[in-house]
């Protein structure tokens, strides 16, 4: 089994995604050394120092993936773009709804659960919109 097939079936997307992961891992390694130095010389909690490189790694990969414009590789026309935009809005609403229900089941505060789910839904939509817009612009040049 080829592990790259887990990333994507398309070889260009596979190559780009693996590149982002490698870059992220390299930054994570460098950050980890910085965090060790901080751990030895400051009073910052170890858990925070441990979490920073991991979160940086995850955020870096997601941002690079979104900005690279490889997610919507089949969106070439204005119609496809608008259709996908509409689909993303419904997907975000669906995601926020499921998230809110899960939060309400786990937490007791309804207001807090809805607020967090709303923010998550908006962030999801923003990421999807940027990714779609970048992909569409990239595809227009081809």
């Amino acid at each position: 089994m080829n592990i790259f097939n887990l990333l994507a079936q398309d070889e260009y997307r596979q190559q780009r995604t693996s590149r982002f992961i490698v870059e992220g891992a390299l930054f994570q390694l460098i950050l980890s050394f910085i965090m060790i130095a901080l751990y030895l010389n400051t009073e910052i909690k170890p858990l925070i120092l441990l979490a920073i490189p991991v979160f940086f790694f995850l955020i870096y990969i997601v941002l690079r993936y979104i900005i690279s414009g490889i997610e919507y590789s089949e969106v070439f026309s204005k119609d496809e773009y608008m259709q996908m935009k509409k689909r993303n809005i419904f997907r975000s609403i669906g995601f926020a709804t499921v998230f809110a229900v899960m939060m309400i089941l786990v937490k007791s505060s309804i207001f807090e659960s809805i607020a967090v789910a709303f923010i998550a839904g908006v962030l999801w939509l923003i990421m999807d919109t940027i990714s779609l817009s970048k992909s569409y612009r990239k595809n227009q040049e081809l």
Partner: protein, 63 residues
């Protein structure tokens, strides 16, 4: 890497989407290859050449 895929594809009367589907990649990848913005793997080069009934020399050799 300069290539003549676009020309060969048009001669064959295929769209980017049709070629992409036939060789198992996305239309974006075919577009990038035609624009010389991405160097495909040998496996993909062979799949494209077979689909277009061309040899690798026909598609990728620079005179």
């Amino acid at each position: 890497m300069v290539n003549k895929i676009k020309l060969a594809r048009m001669e064959k009367g295929l769209t980017q989407s049709q070629l992409a589907e036939a060789v198992g990649v996305t239309r974006q990848t075919i577009g990038l290859i035609e624009k010389n913005a991405y160097n495909p793997s040998l496996q993909l080069c062979l799949a494209i050449a077979k689909k277009l009934n061309k040899t690798l020399n026909d598609l990728f050799w620079e005179e």
